[in-house]
């Protein structure tokens, strides 16, 4: 046990020697961020503010939204009434006085005459 502690100490000393050049001199940067004085420092603090986004709920909501979006698009694309509506919308309706016909039917009838 004692031997282990002395080894620990010995290695710690060696590391301390090797890393003695490393000194923490950024006190002013910490103080600037904890106690901003100028407008720029305050803006910087706001800009660097850390926000936490809970991954699971956000991912679930996004997945749900994408599923609903894609699903409703698929349903719309395959809905027979919407296909019919689209077809009717594509054709122009013409009032002949006798009845209302689509322009393609009317053109066919006129061309037969």
């Amino acid at each position: 046990m004692k031997q282990k502690q002395s080894e620990q100490k010995h290695i710690r000393e060696q590391l301390d020697n090797e890393l003695s050049d490393l000194q923490f001199n950024d006190h002013h940067k910490v103080l600037q961020r904890t106690h901003p004085k100028t407008w720029m420092q305050k803006a910087g603090r706001l800009w660097n503010k850390e926000i936490e986004i809970p991954l699971l709920p956000v991912a679930s909501v996004l997945l749900l939204a994408i599923t609903i979006g894609v699903g409703s698009q698929f349903i719309n694309d395959n809905d027979p009434t919407s296909i019919l509506q689209q077809t009717v919308q594509a054709k122009e309706l013409v009032d002949t006085g006798v009845g209302i016909y689509t322009n393609d039917l009317l053109e066919k009838a006129v061309s037969k005459k």
Binding site: Q8, L15, L22, F24, V30
Partner: protein
């Protein structure tokens, strides 16, 4: 900051291997400590609390770092270290010439080994303390320490052989 700044910086440097990143880690640590000081229940635990924040910050940065590395290059890991040597790894490390760069060798270790070796030797934490702070089982820490020592020994032996070859 005067009292613990240097130790925290050196711990971070051993873990993240980059001085600039280590400085950022320590700055962020003091800022987090300032903002969350009410979470510190026992003031005598300040050093240990700050060290835990440093470890978490280093882990976060290393995660980003590893993603960057994965995206930039697919480096193959070399995991070649010999287990059968006459001396124990600790003895080998102690017998090495003091002018050798032990900190560089520690930085060459895989992160999980680097972390426990740094906390055990540089921060002089016990196995139980490391286990508590890293939220791991004591046996896991012991295993990591043993493997870390073995890897460290292999690195130092390799470097010594390289230095000898250079001088010949």
């Amino acid at each position: 900051m005067n009292q613990y700044g240097n130790t925290l910086l050196r711990t971070a440097f051993l873990l993240v291997k980059d001085q600039h990143t280590a400085e950022e880690v320590v700055q962020d640590t003091f800022i987090i400590a300032f903002e969350k000081v009410d979470q510190l229940r026992e003031p005598e635990q300040l050093k240990s609390w700050l060290s835990t924040i440093v470890i978490n910050q280093c882990r976060t940065r290393m995660r980003r770092w590893s993603w960057k590395n994965i995206l930039l290059s697919f480096k193959d890991k070399e995991d070649e270290w010999q287990e059968e040597h006459e001396k124990s790894p600790e003895q080998t490390i102690l017998d090495m010439d003091l002018s050798q760069n032990l900190s560089k060798a520690i930085q060459e270790l895989d992160y999980k080994y680097r972390e426990v070796i740094t906390l055990y030797y540089f921060n002089e934490w016990s196995v139980d303390e490391i286990a508590l702070h890293l939220q791991q089982n004591s046996n896991t820490i012991k295993t990591r320490l043993a493997r870390g020592r073995q890897q460290l020994k292999a690195i130092l032996v390799k470097e010594e052989l390289y230095d000898e070859a250079k001088t010949v």
